[in-house]
């Protein structure tokens, strides 16, 4: 009796860059896998051929086919550099969080709504009155005053300071989107090999990154998130009259966002999540309706970058008086 087997074999050979998957929209560190075909005899592999390399999302296994092992090595090197840069950024943020400790060792002076400096190097939580030495924005016990803690390295001075902070975030996002745009343009030819249809999600990815950074940033209060979503929707409607036609399915939601932005109503906590997910959904709706033909993918990519720049410019020039409604 002869027992033989055949099939595909895949093994992970390294880590890729941290990026958002255009298919499942999860931001994860991609992995590089080597696939091959194999034949085994009595469960012992005897032959392996047709080796191929892919950089894939670990969640949905959707990814890019790499031309050779050298490309895989290049991505792995880039991943190591990215990891080092993130570690450096993280350590810098840690240093910034001790800004007040280093530069303002003033006794009995309130530097934020959440924490009070009681002596040099010592903090007291305003909510639970626990004295602590460790650095960071949150009390190690209650962790319940995210919104009240001062912005890293700056004093919180009401809504104007927050507007400036949001403007700063937008400015950073614009640069981020430019980098992202150039990176996407570099990998666009290899993306096209996998699935040209996916390329139309690129502008959505830009926006997703924008929303992701704004919403995940502890420096921007959560109630501002829906306001920002409303602002972006309103701006889109102003910049492109066809926008409203494109998003007829989510018209009610956009109206709600704009109304909330106008009325400054007290927001429920869930609406922040909805603003986040519907923000993505809106852009998905828009760009899934735009036909993806030759050359239009790149135009759509540019459009995402263009809108983000416009949002930043309008915000800085006109602030809240920009609404056309």
């Amino acid at each position: 009796m002869i027992i033989f087997g055949w099939g595909k074999n895949s093994k992970e050979i390294g880590k890729g860059l941290i990026q958002e998957c255009p298919n499942c929209k999860n931001v994860r560190q991609w992995i590089i896998v080597e696939t091959s075909k194999k034949v085994s005899l009595y469960f012992v592999p005897v032959a392996k051929w047709n080796k191929e390399y892919f950089c894939i999302c670990p969640v949905c296994n959707n990814g890019i086919k790499l031309d050779s092992l050298d490309d895989a090595h290049k991505i792995m090197e880039a991943a190591i550099e990215q990891e080092a840069a993130l570690k450096k950024q993280y350590s810098e943020n840690e240093c910034n969080s001790s800004y007040h400790q280093a530069s303002a060792p003033i006794e009995n002076e309130t530097v934020s709504k959440g924490k009070i400096v009681i002596e040099s190097g010592m903090w007291e939580c305003k909510d639970c009155h626990i004295k602590m030495v460790e650095e960071g924005d949150y009390c190690s016990k209650c962790r319940g005053h995210k919104q009240n803690v001062a912005v890293r390295g700056e004093k919180m001075e009401g809504i104007n300071a927050m507007d400036e902070k949001i403007l700063k975030v937008f400015k950073e996002l614009t640069y981020l989107s430019e980098d992202f745009y150039s990176d996407m343009m570099k990998i666009y030819p290899s993306m096209k090999k996998v699935d040209a249809q996916k390329a139309k999600y690129c502008p959505m990815m830009v926006f997703y990154l924008a929303f992701f950074d704004v919403i995940r940033s502890d420096e921007v209060p959560q109630e501002k998130v829906e306001e920002i979503s409303g602002l972006i929707c309103a701006l889109l409607a102003r910049l492109n009259p066809q926008f409203i036609e494109l998003i007829d399915d989510c018209q009610d939601f956009v109206n709600k966002l704009i109304q909330n932005y106008m009325k400054k109503e007290k927001k429920e906590p869930e609406t922040v999540f909805f603003a986040y997910s519907y923000g993505n959904w809106i852009f998905h709706k828009i760009f899934s309706k735009i036909p993806s033909e030759k050359g239009e993918d790149i135009q759509a990519l540019k459009f995402g970058d263009y809108i983000l720049k416009k949002v930043m410019t309008y915000w800085s020039e006109q602030k809240k008086s920009l609404l056309p409604f």
């Binding site: 099939g7 298919n23 499942c24 929209k25 999860n26 969640v59 949905c60 296994n61 959707n62």
Partner: protein, 82 residues
């Protein structure tokens, strides 16, 4: 008679269920799939076996293409009768 790993095969013309994927967290209409297991009768190189000793049913996410919820035979049958 042989043993083989067929993977997941779609049940055609079955009802789709809208739910959030446990793996990728995307909300989509999930499809009914089955995995034939045990001993098979048929051609080893064909896509499907003619007969299999057992079948396991799942709901598969259309975004990440991964099986989500394990279904019982009765649940699967109710989805098949569209």
């Amino acid at each position: 008679m042989f043993i083989k790993n067929y993977g997941l095969l779609e049940v055609k013309n079955s009802k789709r269920i809208k739910r959030i994927c446990d793996i990728c967290n995307n909300e989509c209409e999930q499809i009914l799939v089955y995995e034939p297991s045990g001993l098979f009768i048929g051609l080893p190189f064909a896509k499907k076996p003619w007969l299999s000793s057992s079948k396991h049913y799942f709901l598969q996410c259309t975004v990440c293409r991964k099986p989500n919820k394990i279904l019982t035979k009765d649940e699967a049958k109710s989805l098949m009768n569209k």
